[in-house]
Symmetry: C2
Subunit: 407 residues, 2 copies
């Protein structure tokens, strides 16, 4: 597999013994060699972790230099001390980068140019001694290559079974640019393991305002449309860093639109990996709604269907149970034209124009059982509104995983 | 156990072979010997079953005489034929009542004085031959006693493990009145088994407008605040019939207020029996929110906590996982004062004034494991808004039940 990494970025992932399992990576550092613009999209939860408060106050930013991430502890519900710890992580990172650059031509990095993300247990103070040592260690092994990039991606994981990365190379207006994304998340699971994190780096040149706008738009088509169990965590954070090292001026017009398409496609690719990696999950479920009065209505309907335990258990059991899907659409809230309600599962029509359709139940069931992805297509009227959500199915293993742990 | 049944009502429950299991009761009839006022509260789902459409168009009603209920088939998503079948059930009921009264002084009952409820499989036409025969049979064995009341309560059940009834006698302004309620529901479960149904009969004297107002208010404190998996069915129906047979004039002022208190308490009692009877459920979970800016905000928050799979699995596992509860409140939507956030589980303080509290985790866990009900008390600010929701926990058996069936 070839990874297309952006120019002017270095990565590192190390073990600082924050997580219990010895040798597991739990500190990641991402550095841009020149000031980069940074944009952020954050959790909608009102109970937010200290690193989210800090990043929110700093983005959009035109002079970002570095991001530090720790896994194993979310630094959430930790009050004033948690805020101080998040700031301290940035200070330690800036100082370590300065130290490391001493003697070289490295310009100074100050703490306000750093961003921070945390994920893991809620309600415990960070083990700052370990974290500070880990940051120092990570800065010492920063590198531009694929190995360092994957180390960083590994270090942000918690209960993820699989690493989540995607990279891309594109030619925009004659210049070659690169985009690299890493994400983590597999449901908000016990013990209090929260959080979706995503960090996208690119050497394309963007203004801070532009980066923010493009990231927000991509988030609304990707990470904002996935759920494992619908629990918005206290720590969800998505960052985009663009350092312009591909050269030239800021992307505009058609080039910006092409970049936006790449960013959105990559975010969807990363986002879908999260419910696909849900605990106890055997299926990724894709719920596409069309015909709503507008996109916002479509979003509410696709969200209601994707959040239904009954839909999720039916898919798990290979049951083409159209009644559960149609009735979930009915209680979502936005108006639906019941005489236009139509439903396909994996391309098989189960309900059309408001009436059940005779279908081969064995064939439909086999189609669900034999595919890792189940595609639900729902038409709710004649409007132009569309939205797609992704979720995982709900199996016995999910419940076992989430109920058999005791704090 | 003593049942306090209202005067002037007769009940019946018989087997019409709509359900597969031989001898299982599946047709209930409830008759008032004199015209009664009838009020209804119905599902919020836009996809509604034919009997809901019919009842909605008839209530509030001042001249109701009878209700027929079938279980085993929901008559939902059945189009024009379903509407005709629902009307036909009322016609057959009225005719059977007339036939049966022939020779006695019985006044004529017309079809517009009848109401109908259905619960069971979605998307199949009613077996009208069986249903018509069943209605005739039920009318033949109508009786005023406890046995007939319980037969009717049994006939409305689908996957319920336990019969759900409550009755009460009260003295209001010197007159003795009786109220009797029956309900069914245990989650919306496979194969498409939908629906909460509730029918309350009383010999108190009310106007139709008054009955509607009191029933709506009671529903908002009871049946509208329960969930097993948050799936609003196509058939949910709650009816109140008041025939005034206790004598005197319509209840007013203090007497009305007392009646409203009794009705609300009885509805809460019945409503709580539904999540307590959820499939695979070991715990009834009560979520009480206070301190919200208003009751509507409190309702959104208690609903979000009660709907969280993570909260439901934590309780199932005996885990006092405050992070899941607090973060669910945080994403509910309404404003919360994070520095006032406090949480008790079964009276044990886990979180206070926005900070975790040191507590005996073993004791808290034992308290959850050893009680059938888990009480979650959440303070979200200094406002006057309060709301209580009830739900079931989420265990492996629930998922097994809902995923291992194939249509």
């Amino acid at each position: 597999m070839t990874y297309y990494l952006p120019q002017g970025f270095r990565f590192a992932g190390v073990s600082a013994a924050i997580k219990k399992k010895p040798g597991t990576k739990d500190i990641a550092v991402i550095v841009s060699d020149v000031p980069a613009v940074a944009a952020g999209v954050y959790t909608q939860n009102q109970v937010v972790a200290a690193p989210v408060v800090l990043c929110r106050s700093r983005t959009p930013l035109s002079t970002a230099r570095a991001v530090v991430v720790n896994s194993g502890n979310a630094n959430a519900c930790t009050g004033a001390r948690g805020d101080a710890d998040a700031r301290r992580m940035c200070e330690v990172l800036a100082a370590a980068l300065d130290d490391h650059a001493a003697g070289s031509a490295g310009d100074g990095v100050n703490a306000e140019q750093a961003l921070v993300m945390s994920t893991g247990v809620i309600g415990h103070f960070l083990p700052m001694e370990k974290i500070e040592a880990g940051i120092g260690q990570a800065v010492g092994c920063l590198a531009a290559g694929e190995r360092a990039f994957l180390d960083a991606a590994d270090a942000i994981m918690t209960t993820d079974a699989a690493r989540k990365v995607t990279t891309r190379r594109a030619e925009l207006g004659g210049k070659v640019i690169h985009i690299a994304g890493m994400a983590k998340g597999a449901g908000m699971i016990g013990p209090n393991m929260a959080t979706m994190l995503c960090c996208v780096t690119t050497d394309a040149k963007l203004t801070a305002e532009q980066a923010q706008r493009l990231l927000t738009s991509a988030a609304n088509k990707s990470f904002n449309n996935i759920s494992v169990e619908g629990h918005t965590s206290t720590n969800d954070t998505m960052l985009l860093l663009a350092n312009g090292c591909s050269g030239g001026t800021e992307l505009t017009g058609n080039e910006e639109a092409q970049f936006a398409d790449h960013l959105e496609a990559m975010c969807i690719e990363l986002a879908k990996q999260i419910p696909a990696d849900g605990e106890g999950s055997a299926h990724l479920i894709e719920v596409s709604v069309r015909g709503a009065q507008n996109d916002s209505d479509a979003r509410q309907i696709s969200h209601a269907v994707a959040s239904s335990n009954l839909v999720k258990t039916a898919v798990h059991g290979g049951d083409p149970n159209w009644g559960r899907i149609v009735s979930a659409a009915g209680y979502a809230g936005p108006p639906i034209e019941t005489t236009m309600l139509s439903l396909k599962v994996n391309g098989i029509e189960l309900f059309a124009a408001g009436e059940p359709v005779a279908f081969d139940a064995k064939l439909a069931s086999a189609s669900i059982r034999q595919n890792h992805s189940t595609i639900i297509e729902l038409t709710v009227g004649s409007g132009a509104g569309t939205c797609t959500h992704w979720t995982s199915d709900l199996g016995v293993d999910y419940v076992r995983f989430n109920s058999e742990y005791t704090t």
